[in-house]
Symmetry: C2
Subunit: 306 residues, 2 copies
């Protein structure tokens, strides 16, 4: 495992020299370390690059780490990871991704993650993305997440991208059975010439299922962001989405949240607000002794965490 990978692991998956729990470390398309645990089995996929991860119902409050790092240009890493989570299991999955290039060549990671949660399973899925390095080569991360929730299953997805990724196209889709619950919290900051595109599609097919999508984004420099969500309520269900964006410098944002109510018992709500930081907020922090830049940074930090 090279030094850059170690650094990226610290940034995206709270690596402190080791992982406690099951893990697989992917470095430039190769396996740089793997460990299964009593209740969590990690195998290589037979028909494609990637992993098949079986989590047994006995797994309670357990961790799985599957970070992936690209540490130089001219790598186009593609990986398929499938998670089978047994009925009633309760786990946290950390899937950070770091991409680094010091050369002129593109470094890209494209992770396709599928989650199959059995009845009553609970997953907290944390995904943190970062790009580093001084090369002119593009740093690209294009995650695809497909989620299938059986009855009463709960998935909470927390996805964060805080800079350095030149291009990202993130596609997330989910299908929910009865009483299943999906929560997605997305935080994205783009700067310079970066572009970020997000696409959510959630289908509530089982009675009393629910979804809550919250997207917080900041577009700085000349960066461009596109947000599209589609929430389909095909039964008695509740859906809520909220997408707020802060504009700075010459950043632009396009937000298109779509709601489809195909059943009279579907209750769907959406809110969106796009604008710059209110002047009063800055003034307040400046009277406390912060500079303009410090005040802005503080507000952005709170907004993305919120």
């Amino acid at each position: 495992m090279n030094k850059i990978t170690e650094k990226l692991l610290e940034l995206v998956s709270d690596w402190k020299g080791e992982f406690r729990g099951a893990y697989n470390i992917r470095e430039n398309g190769e396996c740089a370390g793997r460990q299964s645990s009593n209740h969590i089995r990690i195998d290589s996929k037979e028909d494609a690059p990637g992993l098949v991860i079986h989590i047994s119902p006995e797994a309670q409050n357990e961790m799985v780490y599957i970070p992936a790092c690209v540490t130089h240009g001219d790598v186009d890493d593609l990986v398929y990871n499938d998670f089978y989570v047994g009925a009633g299991a309760d786990v946290t999955i950390v899937a950070g991704c770091g991409v680094h290039t010091d050369s002129e060549e593109t470094a890209r990671h494209n992770g396709i993650h599928r989650f199959f949660l059995e009845k009553g399973a609970h997953v907290l899925y944390k995904e943190k993305h970062i790009g580093t390095g001084v090369g002119a080569g593009l740093k690209k991360i294009d995650p695809v997440t497909d989620i299938t929730l059986d009855e009463d299953a709960v998935l909470e997805m927390d996805t964060v991208q805080l800079g350095g990724v030149d291009r990202t196209l993130r596609k997330t889709s989910a299908v929910l059975a009865a009483r299943a619950r999906l929560t997605i919290h997305e935080s994205i900051l783009t700067d310079g010439e970066e572009t970020a595109q997000t696409d959510f599609e959630v289908s509530m097919d089982g009675g009393d299922s629910s979804v809550n999508l919250v997207s917080r984004s900041v577009a700085k420099g000349k960066s461009c962001q596109e947000y599209h969500s589609r929430i389909k309520g095909n039964c008695r269900c509740t859906g809520h989405s909220e997408c707020d964006a802060i504009l700075m410098d010459r950043g632009t944002v396009n937000a298109t949240p779509e709601l489809f109510a195909g059943d009279p018992d579907a209750a769907l709500i959406h809110e969106a607000a796009i604008g710059k930081i209110a002047g009063e907020q800055i003034v307040k922090l400046r009277t406390l002794g912060l500079t303009q830049e410090e005040a802005e940074a503080r507000i952005v930090e709170g907004f993305l965490r919120g």
Copy 2:
């Protein structure tokens, strides 16, 4: 002018045997009456069916009526009406449209209205649509509205469709110069197998322009509604859109409000809520002595007016 036209005029344009002000009555594609006034000149269009209406800056608190009626099947009426509103003029334009068929054949009205408002002009534009008649022939109304607002101009559009129209596709677009203000209030009720599609596109190009779109819709029976709005903020401006829908029976609604902030000083907000009437509201009205049906009708009426 036939009896059906008189009846439709009452429903869509408050006709009480006469109009006070300038008017043109269109009946099955023909002119059934026209009157210009001192400050408002109505001419036939030379190159296409329709009208050219010149409103001089002297017009203050004046009325223009341009209702259009189709009273039998096998009519496919297409009309182009252009409004040139002089600087500082203040008028109300009533453009009701009624479509009636007792036969198996389709009755359709397709009105393409263009508004050019000069500096500081103020227009209240009222558009009411209705379909009547017992024939199996489809009743279609497809209005297109293009709005160009010069500096400080204000257009308020109030569009209402309260039943009987089998198919409607309504397209509204607007371009706003500095400090121009556009307000659109849409109320749509569909029932049976009706479909209604709405498409708004507003481009705020001048500093401190503003737009407020409010759509209230009720989908009953097996009717389907599609709502799409696109608000583009290309400068310092404010945009607000709100689309609320009530579902009854097996009605469905798809809402896609799009916000594009292309300037850091654009402040854009959207809210949407789709669902059925809350049970408590019905119970409250029933304890006051209303039947279930009366209670629902009362709530729907208030919602569409709101």
